[in-house]
Structure formats: structure tokens, C-alpha cells
């Protein structure tokens, strides 16, 4: 697997970590312009650490659903092109705005990812759809937002088992999410994001 241009492994305090170049956002360690990207705080970071083929090479157009306080999406905007960040909760969005301020290519939107028509007038078709939403019906959210993905694009999905069903076995939850997902996507690779994130599955898929 190759890392996208703009993402490098660099040494912080003697250990090798993923890093991107940009303004610091959440008090992460920095080395010059490089900022450490901690896979324990970022599902996409964990997907890179696990060697998944994300298809990201740098400079692409991205729609990020579930941007929260902007931890991960700030790293994405450091190496990607135009990056649309959708988040539904007001409180974390305040921090997302701080991350967006110095990043001209990061466009924050306080919108509900379950209602894509409320941001389709702003978001253009993208190369990569990244989804990390902690809500029931994660596969449905991915299907509803498939319209934003170009035919040769990639969906990078982090499925949180406990958001779907607390009582079921996580592997059953993952199976059911993947089955629903095949209505609009063809999964290319799946991998557990443990030990960085317990009960999370990383999925790379392409639209069908």
C-alpha cells in the first residue's frame, strides 16, 4: 500500500507516526509543519495503519460524513483537494470551524447526512466518500449519499457495531450492514480496526 502524497511516516518522540502538513487542530504533537495523525483517534488513520487500499493518492475531491470536531477531516484536507465536511451536532461543529478557518479547501456544513438533499446544492460529485457516523442505519446513510460519488470513486466506511445494535454480536452486525451496502456498492476490502477502535469495521467499496 502506498500513502497518499502529503501523508508521511515521521518520527515523533522516537516513534514512527503518520503525519500531514497543516495548522495544528487538537493539540497534537508537531514537527515543523508536520502534525502527528494518531490512528487511535481517527478511523481513517487506522485504515492507513492497517494497510487498506483506500485509493487515495492526494489532491482528490472528498465528501466527509460525520466530521465531528474535525480531527480526521483536518488531516484529510491537508492532503486532499476540495473537502466537504458534514456534521450534524452543533457542539463539535464549533471545533470543526476552527479547523476549517485556516484551510481554504475545507468546507464545513452543519447538516444531517441522512438528508443529502439539504447539501446537494453545495457539494459537487467527489472522488472519495468517507463516512464515520455514529447512528443506526449506517449502510442506509452510505446508500443515500452514493449519488455524490463518481463512478470510479471509492467509499471509505467505518462501521461502528454498537451504533447499530448493542446487544448483537458485532460480526453479525457487520454482516447485515455489508449486505445492505451491496444494494449500491461492491465492497473491495474489509478489515477490523482493532486494536485502535474496538468493534469497528473498516470498509473500502466502489459504487455499482
Amino acid at each position: 500500500m502506498t500513502l497518499p502524497e502529503g501523508v508521511e511516516r515521521r518520527s515523533f518522540g522516537g516513534d514512527e507516526w503518520l503525519a500531514t502538513r497543516g495548522d495544528p487542530v487538537y493539540g497534537e504533537p508537531t514537527d515543523g509543519h508536520w502534525r502527528r495523525w494518531d490512528p487511535r483517534r481517527s478511523k481513517l488513520g487506522a485504515m492507513f495503519e492497517d494497510g487498506m487500499e483506500t485509493g487515495l493518492s492526494g489532491g482528490e475531491t472528498v465528501l466527509y460524513l460525520g466530521a465531528a470536531a474535525g480531527t480526521t477531516v483536518s488531516h484529510v484536507a491537508d492532503f486532499a483537494g476540495p473537502t466537504y465536511a458534514v456534521e450534524f451536532a452543533a457542539r463539535p461543529t464549533r471545533d470543526l470551524l476552527d479547523a476549517a478557518d485556516p484551510r481554504e479547501n475545507l468546507f464545513p456544513l452543519l447538516k444531517d447526512a441522512r438528508n443529502p438533499e439539504t447539501y446537494a446544492h453545495v457539494v459537487e460529485p467527489v472522488n472519495t466518500l468517507i463516512q464515520d457516523v455514529a447512528t443506526r442505519g449506517q449502510a442506509k446513510v452510505a446508500l443515500a449519499n452514493r449519488q455524490f460519488l463518481r463512478d470510479d470513486g471509492r467509499l471509505l466506511l467505518a462501521v461502528k457495531a454498537r451504533s447499530e445494535d448493542v446487544t448483537s454480536d458485532p460480526s453479525d452486525v457487520f454482516d447485515s450492514v455489508l449486505e445492505t451496502l451491496t444494494d449500491g456498492y461492491e465492497p473491495l476490502e474489509t478489515r477490523s480496526l482493532a486494536p485502535f477502535h474496538e468493534d469497528h469495521l473498516g470498509v473500502v467499496a466502489r459504487p455499482r
Partner: protein
Amino acid sequence: MTDSDAAGESWFAGIDPGDREAAMTAIREGTADSPRKWPEIAVSSGFVDDESDYYTELHEATVRATREAVQERERADDQQLKHSIRAMNDCERVANELAERVAEWAGSRREDAGTGVGYARRLAEEGDDGDDAALVSLAERIRDLDDEAAALRAHVERTAPEVAPNLSALAGPVLAARLIALAGGLKHLARKPAGTIQVLGAEDALFAHLRGQAPSPKHGVIFVHEAIQGTAPEQRGSAARALSGKLAIAARVDHYTGDRKPELDAELEARIERIQEREVE
């Protein structure tokens, strides 16, 4: 569809370049059936000279629109909730106090005198038949206060889930608001240990206990929660401990992330069910 038709659905439709107020409103309130290549359309329709200009305008408009939307949502914040629940408590308390006064006064003048806010309301509806103008007027004040308390309760029930979605789901909106008000705000509640939340509102009993004059209180305002009410008295201490633990987690999730976590509801339900089963044994 031509580009100028397509532009009709875009956030920049009919907006003069540089009119940032209008752009902000369009970002917040607009909709489209499907996404299109907006940067290209913006150039061909003459909104901007090139795509680089487009992204500059878009960044400015989205940051401003989102900042305004966040501020608007947060104006319904925890401090506002604190004021409304305290106002509701004041209205209920004063209505009850005045109702006692009306009951005592009416008892000296009428044979059918009753008690409580309900009687005061009846008196107010019946109106004055001659001699009791002052008494009936006081009863009318009680009815108005009671109406005001009901309106404030409806307001709390509407706003508490916006301020603290998980806490409101677990505790019910009114109890959630009471806990936030007693702690002094959602931030303060989120920083309190579960054991403190368990006895919030039972400070008198707690300090009597600390002076060595009383047993430790099992619960404060959480007493009204069905997890306590539906549990046998000898198991209520366990139920209160389990409930306050989950409420503490809910308050922290609400304060630090704002995400709704439905698994908390299920976890609380399972814990309380197990405690309530003990009495059967």
C-alpha cells in the same frame, strides 16, 4: 439541462458575487435533488471567473453559514434551559403556596371550600358572585401561574433534548433539566462523579449525614425516575447507583461530543431490569 438551468438549483443561484449575506442563507436553507459539477457551472454561468475563485467564495460562505447555524442552535443552550426549569419550579411552588392561602381563606367563607391548585382553578372559573372579589382575584392569579408553569414545562420538554439528547432520553427532559440546573450547567454536570449526581437535590440529607446525624441519602431529584419508582424500596439504593452512573455517562457524551448514543438507553434498561428481578428471588 443547460448550465444556466442547472445553476437554478445551486447555492449561488441568483446571488451577486460578494453578497455574502444572501450566500449564507442559501447554504443554510437551499436544497437540490442531486449534486452537480457546481464549480464548472459557477464559472460558465458567470458567478465567478475561475474555479479557484469559486472555492474561495464557497469557503467563505460555508464557514459563515455554519458558524451562524451553530450559534443559533446553541442559543437554545444549557444556561437557557437552567432559567426555564427554575422559572417553572418557581411558578409551581408559588402557585402551591398561594393555593394553601386560598384554601384557608375560602374555608372561612364558603361551605364547599376545597384545597390545592385544583380548587383555586375552580374558584377562578366560577368567578365572583358578589362578596368574594378579593378571594376570587387571588385564585385567578394562581390559575395564571399554573398555566405559566405548564407552558414552561412544554418549553423545557422541547429544548432539553436539543441541549442534552442522551441525558434527556435517559432521564426524561424535565429531570434532565433539573440535574443541569442543580449542577449549574451541562459542563459542570459532565464533570461530576456519578455519586454526586445520585444525591443532587438531597444536599440537606447529605450534610446531615456528613455531620453524623443521619444515614447517607440514597437519591436526590433522580427519585422521581421510573427506575427508582418501579423498584422495591430495599433495592432502590442499587437502582439509584446504576441510574446515576448512566446519567453521568450521558451528560459527558452530551457535553463532549453531542452525539446521540442509543446504546446507553439499552444498557440502563438492562441494568435496572436485573436489579428489579432481585426482589422476585
